[in-house]
C-alpha cells in the first residue's frame, strides 16, 4: 500500500533538529486563514490530538495527523512534507528560523487508490500512533499507519 505521507531529506533533517531542541513532536495539517493549509509542527505536549483526527503516517519519527473533515479531500492525495524559505508568521515550531514546512501533493494513481480503498479507512485518534509505534518500535523515515 502506498504511503499517505512522505518527507523530503531536507525536511527530515529539520525535524530531527527541532526534536533535539523541543522533544517529541506532532504534525497536524491545518486549514483556513493565513498560515492555513500548511503542516503545523508542535510539541506533543502542546497539542492534543483528538478522536476526530486521522493518522496519516510517521515522518522522521513524528506522527502526522489531519482533521477528519479535511481528510475527505486528501484521501486520494499523497503528500510530501518539504521545507522552504519563510516567512509567514506561524505557531509552527520551525517558523522563527525563517523556514516553513510545506505540503506538496500528488494524486494517487488508480492502482494506488484501489489499494488504499481495499485497506479500509485509516486509523484515527492518538492511539493510532501509539499502536503503530509498538508495532515496529523503530523510528524511521516514513511509515504508513500500522496494520
Amino acid at each position: 500500500m502506498p504511503d499517505r505521507v512522505l518527507v523530503t531529506p531536507e525536511a527530515a533533517t529539520l525535524i530531527r533538529r527541532l526534536k533535539a531542541e523541543h522533544g517529541p513532536l506532532v504534525f497536524h495539517q491545518s486549514g483556513g486563514c493565513c498560515e492555513g493549509t500548511a503542516p503545523m509542527c508542535f510539541k506533543q505536549s502542546d497539542f492534543r490530538v483528538g478522536q476526530n483526527d486521522v493518522f496519516l503516517g510517521v515522518i522522521a519519527g513524528c506522527p502526522f495527523y489531519i482533521g477528519a473533515a479535511t481528510f475527505r479531500y486528501f484521501a486520494y492525495t499523497q503528500i510530501v512534507i518539504d521545507v522552504t524559505r519563510g516567512g509567514g508568521d506561524s505557531f509552527s515550531l520551525e517558523a522563527p528560523d525563517g523556514v516553513r514546512f510545506v505540503t506538496r501533493s500528488r494524486l494517487f494513481s488508480d492502482v494506488e487508490a484501489r489499494e488504499l480503498d481495499a485497506a479500509g479507512p485509516p486509523a484515527m485518534g492518538p492511539q493510532a500512533f501509539q499502536q503503530c509505534q509498538s508495532a515496529d518500535g523503530q523510528e524511521n523515515q516514513s511509515r504508513p499507519q500500522g496494520g
Partner: protein, 506 residues
C-alpha cells in the same frame, strides 16, 4: 475630488531602524536581546529590525497590563471614548504614511490601503467610541422590594493575536472594542507585518495611560504560545488557521477563559443568469464582484474563491468575467493604478503555486494566469503572481481548501437549489456573495447559505456596524459590531433587597 500628488517611499523615512516592544507606555528592548529582520515582499529589502520576543517579554507586558487595569476599568466611558476618537484622529492625520508603511510591509496595493485599510481602522475606533457612550446596563424590578441590576464590567487583561493580511485593520477590529470596554491588552502582531502597529504606537501611543495597550513583537511559537496559555489573561482573541485555533482553544480550556476565533473560509460567490439581462451598470458591478477574488491578492479570509455561475449564461458571462480578470494590473503596489501587489511572503507564494499544481493534476481547466508574474526591475525578487482562474467542480481540492491567494475556482449550477447545495458544500462558513436582479431570489439564497455574512449584490465591504464572523469551521464570535462588546465584558448582577423583613427560613 482633487487627488493631491502623493509621494510614496519603498522604505518610508519615518520608520525607525529598530522596533522594541511597546510595554507600559514605552519602548522596551526584548529580554533576550534578539531581533528579526522585517523585509518587504516587493523586493525583499529590509524595512526594520523588530524585537524577536520570548515568554519573558510576554510576562513584562502582562505585568504592565495588570498594573494598569484597575484604573483603566474605572475610567469613565466618556474619557475612554475621547481617547479612542483621538487615536482615530491621529490615524487620519497620518493616513498617507500609514498606508505607505502597510503597503511596503504587506504588499497590498496603495489604492487599497489609502481607501480601505487605514480609513476603516480609524472608523472602527470611532464606532466603538460611540457604542460605549450609548451603552447602558439594565435593571429589573423583580417585586416591590427586590431589584436586579445588571452592570457591564471589563474582563481585565486580554490577549489578542493578529494576522498579517490586514495588519492594522485587524488590530483595530480587536483593539477598539477591548479598550473601550475598559480592558487592558497584550497584542501580538504577525511577524511578517509588524510595522503599521509599531508606527501607530509612535503616532498615538502617548494617548493611552501606560500599560493599557502593550505590543509584543515576535513569532507565533515564541510569543503567541506563551500569551495564549498564560493564566494571567481573561480572554484570547485569535484570527488565523484552524490547527492553531484548536491549540489556542486547548490552552483556553486549561485556564477556563473565553475565546473568539476567526479561522478562514472558502466563500462562494453565486451569480444568477439574470445579472446578464441587461448590459448596464449592474452587470458591470457584478463583473467587478467576480474579479474581487484578487482583492488584497486573495489574502483575505472571505476571499470569494469559489464562483458559482448559472449554467444558462456560463459562456457569455465567463467571456466578460475572464476578460475583466485578465486586465487586472499586477505590479508595483506603490503605484496608484496597480490593482494587485505581491503575495505577503515567499512561503505564501510557494503554497499558492502548489495549489495551482494540484488544480492542474485534478483536471481543472486553467482559464487564465497560473504562474508567477514578472513586473521587472527590482521587483524580480518580489512574490508576484498572476490572478488565476480555474474551471472545475466543487469536489476538487482547489474548491475545498483555502488557498489564500489570487486563485479562483469556478463551477456551474442549474437552479437555486443546486446553487445553495454547492455553496454550502464546504467546511467553512465565513462569507458568501449572491448576485441577482431578483431580490426575492437573493433573499432566499442569503437565508439558506450557511455563512456569517452574505454579501448581496456587493462583496468585500467591511463597514463598522455590520457583524462579521463565521459559521462552521470558520470560527465563532462576531466582530465589527457593538455585539462584540459582549465578548469583552462580563455581567455583574447586583440582586438587591429593599425589604427589612427576614426570609423566614431560619
Amino acid at each position: 475630488m482633487a487627488n493631491p500628488v502623493q509621494k510614496f517611499e519603498y522604505r518610508p523615512a519615518a520608520l525607525r531602524k529598530r522596533y522594541d516592544n511597546f510595554i507600559g507606555g514605552k519602548w522596551m528592548a526584548p529580554v533576550k536581546g534578539r531581533y528579526f529582520s522585517d523585509t518587504s515582499p516587493l523586493n525583499q529589502m529590509e524595512l526594520a529590525e523588530v524585537a524577536r520576543s520570548s515568554a519573558e517579554d510576554v510576562e513584562l507586558a502582562l505585568d504592565a497590563a495588570h498594573k494598569a487595569k484597575d484604573a483603566w476599568g474605572r475610567t469613565a466611558p466618556a474619557e475612554r471614548a475621547r481617547i479612542l476618537n483621538k487615536i482615530a484622529d491621529r490615524i487620519d492625520e497620518n493616513l498617507s504614511l500609514i498606508a505607505n508603511v502597510e503597503t511596503v510591509d504587506n504588499g497590498k496595493p496603495i489604492r487599497e490601503t489609502l481607501n480601505a485599510d487605514v480609513p476603516l481602522a480609524a472608523d472602527h475606533f470611532r464606532y466603538f467610541a460611540s457604542c460605549i457612550r450609548a451603552e447602558e446596563g439594565s435593571l429589573a424590578e423583580l417585586d416591590n422590594d427586590t431589584v436586579a441590576y445588571h452592570f457591564r464590567e471589563p474582563l481585565g487583561v486580554v490577549g489578542q493575536i493578529i494576522p498579517w493580511n490586514f495588519p492594522l485593520l485587524m488590530a483595530a477590529w480587536k483593539l477598539a472594542p477591548a479598550l473601550v470596554a475598559g480592558n487592558c491588552v497584550v497584542i501580538k502582531p504577525a511577524s511578517d507585518t509588524p510595522l503599521s502597529l509599531a508606527l501607530l504606537m509612535d503616532l498615538a501611543g502617548d494617548l493611552l495611560p501606560p500599560g493599557v495597550l502593550n505590543v509584543v513583537f515576535g513569532h507565533g511559537a515564541e510569543v503567541g504560545t506563551p500569551l495564549a496559555r498564560s493564566p494571567r489573561i481573561s480572554k484570547i482573541a485569535f484570527t488565523g488557521e484552524t490547527t492553531t485555533g484548536r491549540q489556542i482553544m486547548q490552552y483556553a480550556a486549561e485556564t477556563i477563559i473565553p475565546q473568539t476565533m476567526e479561522l478562514g473560509g472558502k466563500s462562494p460567490n453565486i451569480f444568477f443568469a439574470d445579472v446578464m439581462d441587461q448590459d448596464d451598470a449592474f452587470l458591470d458591478k457584478a463583473l467587478e464582484g467576480f474579479a474581487l477574488f484578487a482583492f488584497n491578492k486573495g489574502e483575505v479570509c472571505t476571499c470569494p474563491s469559489r464562483a458559482l455561475i448559472q449554467e444558462s449564461m456560463f459562456d457569455k458571462f465567463m467571456e466578460k468575467a475572464v476578460a475583466r480578470v485578465a486586465k487586472i494590473k499586477v505590479g508595483d503596489p506603490l503605484d496608484l493604478s496597480t490593482q494587485m501587489g505581491p503575495q505577503c511572503s515567499h512561503g505564501q507564494m510557494e503554497k499558492i503555486l502548489n495549489y495551482i499544481e494540484i488544480g492542474k493534476q485534478e483536471g481543472a481547466k486553467l482559464v487564465t494566469g497560473g504562474e508567477r508574474a514578472h513586473p521587472g526591475g527590482d521587483f524580480e525578487k518580489g512574490f508576484f503572481l498572476k490572478p488565476t482562474v480555474f474551471v472545475g467542480n466543487n469536489k476538487m481540492r482547489i474548491f475545498q481548501e483555502e488557498i489564500f491567494g489570487p486563485v479562483l475556482s469556478v463551477a456551474t449550477f442549474k437552479d437555486r437549489d443546486e446553487a445553495i447545495r454547492i455553496g454550502n458544500d464546504t467546511l467553512y462558513g465565513l462569507g458568501a456573495g449572491v448576485w441577482s436582479r431578483d431580490v426575492n431570489n437573493t433573499y432566499r439564497v442569503g437565508r439558506e447559505i450557511q455563512a456569517g455574512r452574505v454579501w448581496t449584490n456587493c462583496y468585500h465591504a467591511y463597514p463598522a456596524h455590520a457583524a462579521f464572523g463565521g459559521y462552521k469551521q470558520s470560527g465563532f464570535g462576531r466582530e465589527t459590531h457593538k455585539m462584540i462588546l459582549d465578548h469583552y465584558q462580563q455581567t455583574k448582577n447586583l440582586l438587591v433587597s429593599y425589604s427589612t423583613k427576614a426570609m423566614g427560613f431560619f
